[in-house]
């Protein structure tokens, strides 16, 4: 989605104005990418929490135990665990599937590892962009310094 072309550009050949433009574009991209990074991390944490919850709650010895079910973040109603053999999993676009707890855990683990892969890929991209940004900043600083005496 980024518009950078595969051809290489000699940074020192660009004017200070162009460099500043490139710099602000890079900064925008970085901002966007780190936001995506945060979101992926949050999603991963959410799935990990699901795994923990399923593991802790849906085991045979918990059958018949009472629990407090949160209706909102501060309102709970008492409930009883009737069925420890099935959970409902949101698989996206409004579809839900009934799964055995161990299948649900496998499902979430799969999600977590996919996200992990994405996070690693994204981190590499972010690092690359940061390197580019540092380079552009460096060249820009040199440009400004070398042109300063003329202005003064």
């Amino acid at each position: 989605m980024s518009s950078d072309q595969p051809k290489t550009v000699d940074l020192t050949a660009l004017s200070a104005q162009q460099l500043a433009d490139v710099k602000s574009q890079l900064e925008q991209e970085l901002e966007h990418l780190s936001q995506s990074f945060q979101k992926l991390r949050a999603a991963q944490a959410k799935f990990k929490e699901c795994i923990g919850t399923v593991e802790k709650t849906f085991k045979p010895e918990n059958k018949g135990k009472s629990i407090l079910v949160p209706l909102t973040s501060s309102l709970y109603v008492p409930g009883v665990i009737e069925d420890v053999e099935a959970v409902m999993v949101d698989i996206g676009t409004g579809y839900y599937v009934e799964k055995k707890p161990k299948d649900a855990i496998a499902f979430y683990e799969n999600k977590v590892s996919t996200l992990q892969k994405n996070l690693v890929d994204l981190e590499a991209i972010v690092n690359g962009k940061m390197g580019n940004l540092r380079m552009v900043e460096e060249v820009l600083r040199q440009k400004v310094m070398s042109s300063a005496p003329n202005v003064a």
């Binding site: 698989i91 996206g92 676009t93 579809y95 839900y96 599937v97 799964k99």
Partner: protein, 122 residues
């Protein structure tokens, strides 16, 4: 100083250029939205493909979960994917057209500017 007619022609051109630019960013935004829908539906499709045939599938409609036939759900998602892919192709051509149009306007704008500067100042 340029006369009023040239001035207004120049402004009109600039206005047209800005219009193509804002069209372009609207199309790109739509393209991104479609892409995320495509990805989500692909994930669901993949999940359906590894599901047992006797799995119970539900669809969330408003605040209710309605039981759904699995085959029906699979067909539904396949159809949705087809539609989204077609939409993406449509938007892509629009993006390319608009981009070309924008480029052309920009070139016109630049040559106009050059003309204005060449005129002897009176």
């Amino acid at each position: 100083m340029a006369d009023v007619a040239t001035q207004s022609a120049y402004e009109k051109l600039g206005e047209e250029y800005r219009k193509t630019q804002s069209d372009l960013s609207a199309y790109i935004e739509a393209r991104q939205k479609l892409e995320s829908q495509l990805q989500e539906n692909k994930i669901v499709q993949k999940e359906f493909s590894i599901l047992d045939d006797d799995s119970k599938v539900y669809k969330l409609i408003g605040p209710v979960l309605l039981p759904q036939d699995k085959d029906e759900a699979v067909v539904n998602v396949d159809k949705r994917l087809e539609y989204i892919e077609a939409e993406i192709r449509r938007i892509e051509t629009q993006i390319n057209d608009t981009r070309a149009k924008s480029e052309k306007k920009r070139a016109e704008l630049i040559s106009f500017q050059a003309q204005l500067q060449e005129r002897p100042r009176s």
